[in-house]
């Protein structure tokens, strides 16, 4: 398995040879930041395109086909359009908060995104409480949504924001519980370390029953966390026109739109990292030839394949189910997911204590 840290180390040494360490680190930070943002944009574009094609396929139609080969340039067009669209200033809105909100949302999203370990040695933010940090960073997003709803001076926005507040805070609990289940199994919170421990088998296999339950709970709660159907109440189109971003136009709306899709990717990427072995290739004990072949596939390919598979799964769910009502969302969380999550955590503890895992 190729270790990307060789490359970064080499660059670091090369830079140190021509400049002082402080400057070198600063330069590296800038370069990494730019790369991160670039990747963020690319992922956003890919995700939006995928969403449009996948939903079209579920709905027995074609989706974008006319711009570029198979419609691949469609989202690029949207980007140009968004960039040139007027940004409307709303009278009687809280101007400062109104303009700030989309940036908070995108900031939270970028922060969480930078925690994802894409390949061995290709982690941007990686430290011993990585899981905590990711969750904390991603939950800043709800502040942005609340601000957007509050400052827009629009009743629909306000209702959307309130809904999203209730929903996201509730579902963070379930996400936490299901991740905690795996933390019990791994006894580490560092994301890169979690991946390394899956070298001999992904946690979803190692932890068998409790891990699978945790995975399902995570998918449901993760879907709710990013406000996607069937949990898309905050922007429920048929009820609240566009929910918390009703009043946003142009690129401000574009930021919300992009953040929504990248958040989905983050949720999927985290699922891939924690449950499906991240960039670890698929190894079947006993089949050495197969395992060697799998090892030739680079780690980031594994990571993206797994993440996009989870994304596809979530899209399948989104495009099949009707939307829940606000009280049902809370019922689902507090009456079903949280008790199951807690019982599952207990089960995992038993599994770990009695060494029942693989």
């Amino acid at each position: 398995m190729f270790d990307f840290s060789i490359v970064t180390q080499a660059i670091h040494t090369a830079l140190l040879s021509i400049m002082p360490e402080g400057l070198a680190i600063f330069l590296e930070c800038v370069v990494v930041g730019v790369c991160l943002l670039l990747m963020y944009t690319v992922i956003a574009i890919v995700m939006i395109f995928m969403e449009r094609k996948v939903c079209a396929a579920f709905q027995c139609r074609l989706g974008p086909v006319r711009v570029g080969p198979w419609g691949t340039l469609q989202v690029i067009c949207d980007v140009f359009k968004m960039l040139t669209k007027e940004i409307i200033t709303i009278r009687h809105a809280d101007r400062f908060l109104y303009n700030l909100a989309p940036y908070i949302v995108i900031l939270a999203s970028v922060l969480a995104f930078s925690c994802l370990p894409i390949n061995r040695g290709m982690e941007v933010l990686d430290f011993n409480v990585g899981v905590f940090f990711t969750m904390a960073a991603s939950s800043i997003g709800v502040v942005g949504i609340l601000l957007a709803g509050w400052s827009s001076n629009n009743k629909y926005s306000l209702i959307g924001a309130m809904r999203s507040g209730a929903q996201m805070i509730s579902y963070e609990l379930s996400i936490g519980l299901s991740i905690l289940t795996i933390v019990v199994l791994t006894d580490t919170m560092q994301l890169s370390e979690i991946v390394e421990r899956q070298a001999d088998g992904w946690f979803i296999f190692k932890g068998h029953i409790p891990a699978i339950i945790a995975f399902i709970i995570y998918l449901i709660a993760g879907n709710a966390e990013v406000n996607r159907g069937p949990f898309d109440l905050p922007e429920a189109e048929s009820e609240l026109t566009a929910g918390y971003h009703t009043e946003y136009s142009g690129m401000h709306f574009g930021l919300f739109y992009v953040a929504e899709f990248v958040n989905l990717f983050i949720i999927a990427g985290l699922a891939a990292t924690i449950f499906l072995g991240g960039w670890m290739p698929l190894h079947i004990p006993g089949l050495d030839a197969f395992n060697t072949v799998m090892d030739y596939i680079p780690g980031f390919v594994w990571f993206f394949a797994k993440a996009f598979f989870v994304v596809w799964l979530l899209m399948w769910i989104k495009w099949t189910f009707p939307r829940l009502r606000v009280d049902q969302i809370l019922t689902l969380e507090w009456k079903y997911l949280v008790p199951i999550g807690l019982a599952n955590l207990l089960l995992m503890v038993i599994v770990v204590v009695f060494k029942l895992h693989f």
């Binding site: 709905q59 429920a236 939307r323 829940l324 606000v326």
Partner: protein
């Protein structure tokens, strides 16, 4: 079929004449009783007690020379008896009729409509605002002396009033005007529509919320009020036909059928059996089309977007069949006075059969993806309950009424075309909730397929169009015909004075009663339920506003 009613009328007519010796019978057309205004409210209460609990239609009238009034079509749901009453306003210069909104709730919006059209003030009506037109509209457009120049296009925004006028009769015979509050200052009122994805057009609600729970709901209609009834008064009979398609565009075929039937009844014209067969099949195809669209839109409103596409995919197949024969997808222009525009296409029978074979398994797919879904059930079962009494009182016919357990299908109550001879079930539920309303429509698709199946193979030979005179004049009198539209009873009321255009033409909207019962259903529900309720009531806004 209306002969039978006439014989029934005798008994109730006699009763009314006994109670009210001043009542006069006029026999032109369908015949109606003119009753005095002073005791009309008492009479209405008495009629209701007698079992006449369904106000089919309330038509405001201007008979010229300052004589205003209203025509009431009332039916007893228990016996199926019908009676038509006419009431004049007390004096030419005074416009006041007693409101019967407390007897039949469905009268409330209809009386507002009559006020809007003719300026007839209804005494003790709790909410005497205009129904369709802007509050600053000058005059009443359906009066015969109305001058359109009074109302140029106003581009200023309308201010929503939070209170409403209300008229009371003083002992000295004068009217006083009071105001009643609709929304308090402290209430959190949100505005749903006219441009809102879930109002199915340009209906507008003002909803007072407490958190997510609806406390009050105020319906605003008229954003697509096109004045069709007034336009009809200056069009010839064949020309009026074209406008009915555009009323409820998902029941275009049935609407036109109703008007053709009414005119044919006036003319005493019998159409051939072939025409009856074709019309019945077309009506049922249209019903399937409408119910598929209902399914699609309900799914979309509930957030299940994929099911929306499945519904539309299959709807296209119906539209293709319709288009091949009629030349129109949505607006077909098919029924004409005395028959249909063109004979059925040679491929018609084959394609309809193919469609029936295709549709049955597809319906199962719908049930798998949406009906059985636990989320859909949770959201539909038990929400938005309309009781049977309310359904009748509001006159909420069609799927909505049948979901509440009211057997209100015009095809069974007053069979027309081929419906007396085919075998089909009237789908009835008793729960009256959103789920029942949804299921009624899904089951009705199956019944429609069954009706078509029985007819499609034995369409008799015959002419598809009976020759009529070049200029059609209906003998003097009043006529009322009703069909089961895609979403309830669609009635046409014509008052003719023997001219080539009607003196007054009123369409009994299928949507208006549905909208009027919305407040009752939605109160206490959540805002998301409002969307489900609106979706399952299945109104079409241009049909409400006309």
């Amino acid at each position: 079929m209306w002969k039978r009613n006439t014989s029934y009328n005798m008994t109730i007519r006699e009763k009314i004449t006994a109670w009210e010796p001043a009542a006069e019978w006029s026999a032109e057309g369908d015949g109606m009783l003119t009753v005095p205004v002073e005791t009309f409210h008492d009479l209405a209460v008495r009629l209701k007690r007698e079992g006449f609990d369904f106000l089919r239609s309330l038509t405001g009238m201007d008979w010229g020379e300052g004589r205003f009034g209203a025509v009431y079509h009332i039916e007893s749901t228990a016996t199926g008896e019908n009676i038509v009453l006419r009431v004049f306003t007390p004096a030419p210069d005074k416009c006041g009729l007693p409101s019967v909104g407390d007897v039949w709730k469905g009268a409330l919006l209809n009386e507002r409509e009559a006020y809007d059209y003719f300026g007839i003030q209804f005494l003790n009506h709790p909410d005497m605002r205009r129904l369709y037109l802007r509050d600053d509209w000058v005059g009443h457009p359906l009066r015969k002396d109305y001058d359109p120049a009074l109302n140029p296009l106003r581009m200023n925004n309308e201010v929503s009033q939070d209170s409403t006028p209300h008229f009371e009769l003083m002992p000295d015979g004068s009217l006083i005007r009071k105001r009643e509050v609709i929304f308090d200052e402290g209430e959190y009122v949100i505005n749903v529509g006219p441009q809102h994805p879930a109002t199915h057009g340009v209906l507008r609600f003002r909803v007072s919320l407490e958190g997510e729970i609806i406390r009050k709901l105020d319906v605003h209609c008229g954003y697509i009020h096109r004045g069709i009834e007034k336009m009809c008064e200056s069009l010839t009979y064949p020309q009026t036909l074209a406008l009915t398609d555009r009323l409820d565009y998902l029941g275009a075929s049935q609407n036109r059928h109703a008007l053709c039937m009414c005119i044919e009844k006036g003319l005493g014209l019998e159409v051939s059996r072939r025409v009856q067969y074709i019309r019945t099949i077309m009506d049922e195809l249209q019903r399937i089309d409408s119910h598929l669209l209902f399914f699609s839109c309900l799914c979309m409103d509930m957030g299940a977007l994929t099911a929306f596409f499945y519904g539309f995919r299959d709807r296209e197949k119906v539209l293709d069949i319709l288009e091949q024969t009629t030349g129109g997808r949505l607006i077909q222009n098919y029924n004409v006075i005395g028959g249909v525009q063109a004979d059925i296409h040679p491929d018609f029978v084959r394609r309809v059969k193919e469609f029936i074979a295709y549709m049955r398994p597809t319906l199962r797919e719908y049930h798998e993806i949406f009906t059985g879904n636990v989320i859909a059930r949770q959201r539909l079962v038990g929400t938005g309950v309309l009781t049977r009494e309310d359904a009748i009182s509001f006159g909420a016919t069609g799927g909505t009424g049948r979901a509440s357990g009211w057997a209100c299908d015009v095809r069974k109550r007053h069979p027309y075309a081929m419906y007396g001879e085919v075998d089909f079930d009237e789908v009835l539920f008793t729960e009256g909730d959103c789920y029942a309303r949804y299921m009624v429509r899904m089951r009705e698709i199956e019944q429609s397929l069954r009706i078509i199946e029985q007819l499609i193979d034995n369409i008799p030979e015959g002419e598809y169009r009976t020759k009529t005179k070049p200029v059609i004049r209906i003998p003097e009198g009043t006529y009322y015909s009703a069909v089961e539209g895609s979403r309830g009873e669609f009635g046409v009321f014509i008052e003719s004075r023997g001219d080539k255009s009607p003196y007054r033409m009123k369409f009994r909207s299928t949507g208006l009663p549905l909208v009027s019962c919305l407040e009752t259903i939605a109160r206490g529900a959540k805002i998301a339920d409002l969307i489900a309720i609106g979706g399952t009531l299945d109104y079409v806004v241009p049909d409400i506003d006309r």
